[in-house]
Symmetry: C2
Subunit: 282 residues, 2 copies
């Protein structure tokens, strides 16, 4: 039985851009995801690239702004863009409605503090529930998965891959939050969702995971030099230092004059998808 209800579908570059809705066990809410199915899926299961979005985003931002479908259609990649948090009237939000916590800011963690524990389970949602549903319901070759993301979603992509290296053959990120333990966005999120014990935060920090021994074959990161969040929130130099110290291969590309917007992502998504395709045996 199909677990995904189709919200919309549009022909796009010879494939189909779907938006699906389903009832999530992990978040206890209806969740949406955007899935691009390339034309090659008519004949065989196709490899999958996950894109995790950043603060304030839904499944829509990457889907309508990145222009990724063109290259995914050429390469035969399925693109999956999940939402960034549970949604709905019953879901607790930042008491002041801040953009960087609560709705739209799930940070890809399983919350350990009230009132967040029931709904804020984006880690288990992306790590377990959603890939199971995708494997059962879509023409996806789950033995060939890559993951990438932007900002908070770059943090999500890196930490989920570092904790599950067997699942992902390719990992990249756009302007990721390199070390949530060491920036205001991350400290706010982790202290509220996870609690005061900073040792428990290390599961959600790419630099700490690498320091603790997690490894990937390689990592590609693009970061714009005109990104207004670069210095105080993103701190790619912390990832560079952690990787250098641990011998973790990293390709960090500082992109001159690019900012934090989807114009930056659109400019380099082709490079990332080709990087993934190469490692997914396309």
């Amino acid at each position: 039985m199909l677990s995904f209800e189709t919200v919309s579908q549009s022909r796009c570059f010879g494939g189909t851009q779907f938006v699906y809705r389903h009832a999530s066990r992990e978040t206890g809410t209806p969740m949406r995801l955007a899935v691009f199915v390339p034309p090659q899926a008519k004949d065989a299961k196709v490899p999958v690239v996950w894109f995790l979005s950043g603060l304030t985003c839904t499944e829509e931002n990457f889907t309508v702004k990145a222009g990724a479908q063109r290259v995914a259609s050429e390469l035969g990649l399925m693109l999956i863009a999940p939402d960034t948090s549970p949604r709905g009237e019953a879901v607790p939000d930042d008491p002041e409605g801040a953009y960087d916590f609560g709705l739209g800011a799930g940070f890809y963690v399983d919350a350990m503090q009230e009132p967040w524990t029931r709904n804020y389970r984006m880690r288990s949602y992306i790590e377990k529930e959603l890939p199971d549903l995708v494997g059962e319901n879509l023409p996806a070759d789950m033995s060939r998965q890559g993951i990438t993301g932007h900002s908070m979603g770059g943090h999500g992509a890196l930490t989920i891959a570092l904790r599950n290296p067997e699942r992902f053959k390719a990992v990249s990120a756009f302007a990721p939050i390199a070390s949530p333990m060491n920036c205001p966005w991350g400290e706010k999120a982790l202290s509220n969702y996870i609690g005061p014990d900073r040792s428990a935060w290390r599961n959600y920090d790419a630099c700490a995971l690498i320091e603790s021994g997690a490894r990937l074959p390689d990592i590609l990161v693009d970061q714009g030099t005109a990104d207004s969040f670069l210095e105080h929130q993103l701190k790619p130099q912390l990832l560079e230092e952690a990787c250098a110290k641990a011998g973790q291969p990293l390709t960090l590309r500082m992109q001159d004059s690019y900012d934090h917007s989807y114009f930056f992502i659109a400019s380099f998504i082709e490079d990332h998808l080709r990087w993934h395709a190469q490692r997914l045996g396309v």
Copy 2:
């Protein structure tokens, strides 16, 4: 003196995506436009392609959703996406707030009926005021201009080009309203903006202009077969008939299963920009 105030600018595919604001003489309001300046403009003035958007749109939709900057950067084309109507508290709107008239629905006409005459002058804005400002303020080669657009903006592109064939070397459209005189959207707009005399509507109807003798070297039109507005509003067969009868060259491509969304535009914008570039001597 620079007439354009920069609202935002982002590096994009090696060029720069600007949003500008300026005080418009024609509309009597501040107006915004989005301009992509390709890297080639550092060395010389570059040809220009205008994109006119459809109902409910602003300068933003095409700019963030069509993925046009990639090809414009390769070909060295400036892309200009104006807003679709005057904006502001003082601007009269559809009394019932309908999406297909008033704000966001200027229909590229100069209104002749009250209360629309003061602000709804999108024809003169696009035909005279804005090209003058672009020529004075931006590195644009105004001897090489093309125009395209979507839906209401496809109607705008066709009618503006047919009335000003000397200005445009290339003309195309995505799912244009082929004959506003013969569809509900157009009849509502023209009866309200122009008035009861249908002979005055002919200036704003591509089919009527062609019937009256207006000619272009050629026209490219893409139309999705799954477009929900195809039968009752867009009616490309009326354009096909008018062109056939008049000997006006037309390339009408019915694109199987595509709808009215920007996924359709994104899928074919590269074809259109290459069509324009060829005719602009790129």
